[in-house]
Amino acid sequence: MILSEKTASQLSALYKEKKCAPDETLKSLGEAVRAKDARTRAYIQFDPSRARRRDVSKDAPLWGVPIAVKDNICVADEEITCASKILQGFISPYHATVIEKLLAAGAVICGRTNMDEFAFGSSCETSFYGPTRNPRDPGRVPGGSSGGSAACVADHTAIAALGSDTGGSIRQPASLCGVVGIKPTYGRVSRYGLVAFASSLDQIGPITKDVRDAALLLGVLAGHDPKDSTSANLPVPDYPEVLGRPIKGMKIGIPREYLSSGSGQSGISPAVQKAVREDAVRVLERLGASCREVSLPHTAYAASTYYIIAPSEASSNLARFDGVRFGFRHRGGKNLLEMYEKTRGEGFGAEAKRRIILGTYSLSSGYYDAYYLRAMKVRTKIKNDFDEAFKQVDVLLTPTSPSTAFKLGEKSTDPVEMYLSDIYTISANLAGVPAISIPCGIEERAGKPLPIGLQFMAKPFDEAALFQVAHAFEQHTDFHKKLGNVKE
């Protein structure tokens, strides 16, 4: 029995039956990381001796379960880098709310995972600490920005991990690595302690080996936080409770703009098209759901809207990295201005600079109306599209990513092409709706099994519907077992 290969719920059961103890799990993870992390570089830091836990009841839902954390979530008295040089030397003096919640639920916080610098990217290649590689094929990217979290879960060097999702940063790497990732409704999980990328889009969510773990973790993470003004004060349903409910009669919408060509989208790969549009639909219909096409007419504008709003907010959110109070400071500056400019010029990587410049540009006077204000209005229309769609159907079905994992360096040269790989995921952030990615197929490339992911989206705060349909699909298709995520 290799404990690192277990899921959170399997571990809980083993602990209850006294078949093993949390320290053994940590030890097993340590061995796995030592053996395998050099290949993926999923972690920025993994040190079981620094594991955090609280003395809570053994009945707590995540008692003894180690959780890896994306390195943009604050853990008190721990370094946090956002995979950027500019945070060098910064130690957070406080816990993010999600960390408080995990500790209260008995989880063991262990390991900080790699990411695109400040979550800017879809490939995990922009990290100051070097790229993370996809465990399914180390020549390929794990996706991003939560690439480290997805890779360590897929590689069994973590039991489960936290990610953050601003335009697909949980779902796309989950898809490319063949694991489960959910971006909750905006406001479902507290953002307090998540280093902000784009405040109106960011959400923290779990990346797990199967749907049950995702439901289990979200149940712990979700809920109102008085420290976050944008956190919703709504009851959190018992998510694991909905697992196993049949989906007979569930209405599933397929947005025609996501699958048809010629709507301005970059090409969807034939393997992905088939796995989602044909195979997945067939499975869902066999399970009694009814699938029909719906329309989200403003889909073609989502990428443009996103690439105005996200960099604009980011340019402001990243202004506090100025070398005054924490992190990296350029030492040779003759005066304050030079200290600022050189600190930021040397501290930020190329993609961060590109986004800061783009955001500063679109907020500057003379451009605000043409860019930011217009984008906020188009955002309203995109949101309205979803409201309309959810009057007709319970959930929406789309691919998560237009293709399976691409090779390192393959897309980094052209930013627009890179941005377009987020095409299916960004709308959910703009509209604030919850979305989950689960494995739905495997594409063999040069002898390597590359996972294909599908995405379900639901109306705001209806994560339960996502778990219900995703679990039914998973149990029927067994991709979580075919990919080796869950072993008996």
Partner: protein
């Protein structure tokens, strides 16, 4: 030359904690000791609005006769400076807490309505200290996140004097409604002035010059006066004026251009995504309006009506709530409005001015004040002695004026035998003046009274002295 002036006043709201975090608002604490991850602008933190800030702001909006915006939002104002931890200030741009409103000021004979443009909420920045080392500046973020309301007037003021009257009135209102302590020493009230000058009323408005950081009423007055003079002279000579920001140099008594080392500011305002919108219901507005205390202008009218004071005295007595309360209570006890009013606008105000103190700093009670006023009225002590010898001690220690009077032997002499002696002596010492009086020179009597007062060291009752002198000399004349 016609000056046009508008004021932007920043006032610190009287809350216990900062605007977006639970740190205590405290003046004079050790550097960076009243700070937390939120007001230090650490990565990952989020703001949550202090309910009391919103309530006090709303109260001010209503007291200033403004209207709350239907949807109230916060925006980010982006710029880099070491005293601004997040490199943006959370402020309000497009949808401020309050819009419109006005303050009525007495300008010369007439009452003038100064319109307000808006009242918005924002966070204060920290403090920079430049004099600790030759090549570095120091940052203290205790003040960062202190709640401020910025009250922006329309350009309805026409002179430095009007600006000061406006400020005085605004301060009185803010203090009366308990929104701000308005302690200028602690920077609770800070002012920027926009000044322009044009030749005639039919000309378009001149180039607007913003004068920043006016931290006393005196600075406001002098800086605006200076600026009007400077701009008028330039206009007369046909020299160009620029839209610019200037700073007031207290030492040199002039404004100077704040030379911007960087390009013009571009604050890149956009809606603060970390805060939600706010709104106030009609019921809440009504409730808060009803809870407003009597405002200084209303109080002033009532004082004129009820106590039969001049508008001028009533105005002076209603600028500070504590003063107004002192007056009303003391007048009730003393049963004499006019005398108590004179006491406050006279000895009390001059003592406060001289010592640079506020009324709260004194141990003066209405009972003490009315007792002192009555001592003078009953002729037991002269006004001068009461003001100079009794009042300071009474105000500082809270001791009864009768006790101080007795202890210091300051009782006014009206029928003491010594009074008659002093009169006889003075008449003897100044035979020439006595002759002048006898030949009909009335002013000579005043000189003689003065001499007796000197001998008594002010203790003599001047009325009684005059009476005695006249009686003596009359007797002499008839004999």
């Amino acid at each position: 030359m016609i000056p046009t002036i508008g004021l932007e006043v920043h006032t610190q709201l009287a809350t216990r904690t900062k605007i977006f975090c639970a740190c205590a608002v405290e003046f004079g604490a050790p550097p960076n000791s009243r700070a937390c991850p939120v007001c230090l602008g650490l990565p990952g933190v989020l703001p949550v609005l202090n309910r009391e800030v919103f309530r006090l702001g709303l109260r001010a909006v209503l007291a200033l006769k403004g209207t709350p915006s239907a949807v109230i939002r916060f925006d980010r104002k982006n710029y880099f400076y070491p005293d601004l931890p997040k490199a943006y200030q959370i402020s309000q741009y497009a949808a401020p807490l309050g819009q419109g409103g006005f303050i009525e000021i007495a300008s010369g004979e007439k009452i003038k309505k100064i319109r307000l443009n808006r009242l918005h909420l924002e966070e204060d920045a920290g403090k920079l200290i430049h004099d600790q080392s030759p090549d570095t500046s120091h940052v203290d973020l205790n003040r960062a996140g202190t709640p401020l309301a910025e009250i922006v007037s329309e350009p309805d003021l026409e002179s430095a004097e009007e600006a000061v009257i406006y400020l005085t009135g605004l301060k009185a209102i803010l203090k009366a409604i308990g929104v701000s302590d308005c302690d200028m020493e602690k920077g609770h009230l800070r002012c920027d002035a926009n000044v322009s000058v044009r030749k005639t009323a039919s000309d378009p408005l001149g180039k607007k010059v913003e004068i920043k950081n006016l931290n006393s009423f005196r600075a406001v007055k002098l800086a605006i006066q200076y600026e009007i003079r400077r701009q008028s002279e330039a206009l007369e000579k046909g020299e160009p004026l620029f839209q610019e920001t200037r700073l007031w140099d207290e030492a040199r008594q002039k404004t100077f251009t704040m030379r911007s080392k960087e390009e013009a500011h571009d604050y890149r305002y956009f809606p603060e995504p970390d805060l939600v919108p706010f709104s106030v219901s009609a019921e809440e507005i009504e409730k808060e309006r009803k809870a407003l205390p009597e405002l200084p202008a209303e109080k002033k009218e009532r004082f004129v009506r009820e106590y039969r004071l001049s508008a001028y005295d009533a105005g002076l007595l209603t600028q500070d709530l504590k003063i107004a309360e002192l007056f009303e209570e003391a007048a009730r006890i003393a049963r004499d409005n006019k005398t108590v009013a004179n006491w406050i606008t006279g000895p009390v105000f001059s003592y406060l001015n001289e010592k640079g103190k506020a009324i709260e700093d004194l141990k003066l009670t209405p009972a003490l004040l009315s007792a002192a006023a009555n001592l003078v009225k009953e002729g037991k002590v002269s006004l001068q002695v009461a003001k100079e010898k009794i009042f300071p001690e009474m105000a500082e220690t809270g001791r009864a004026p009768e006790a101080i009077l007795k202890e210091k032997g300051l009782a006014q002499v009206s029928d003491d035998p010594s009074l008659e002696e002093w009169v006889v002596q003075v008449l003897k010492e100044h035979p020439k003046v006595v002759d002048d009086f006898k030949s009909g020179k009335e002013t000579a009597a005043m000189f003689l009274v003065g001499q007796v007062m000197r001998k008594s060291r002010g203790k003599a009752n001047p009325g009684r002295v005059q009476e005695l002198i006249r009686r003596k000399l009359k007797a002499d004349r008839t004999s």
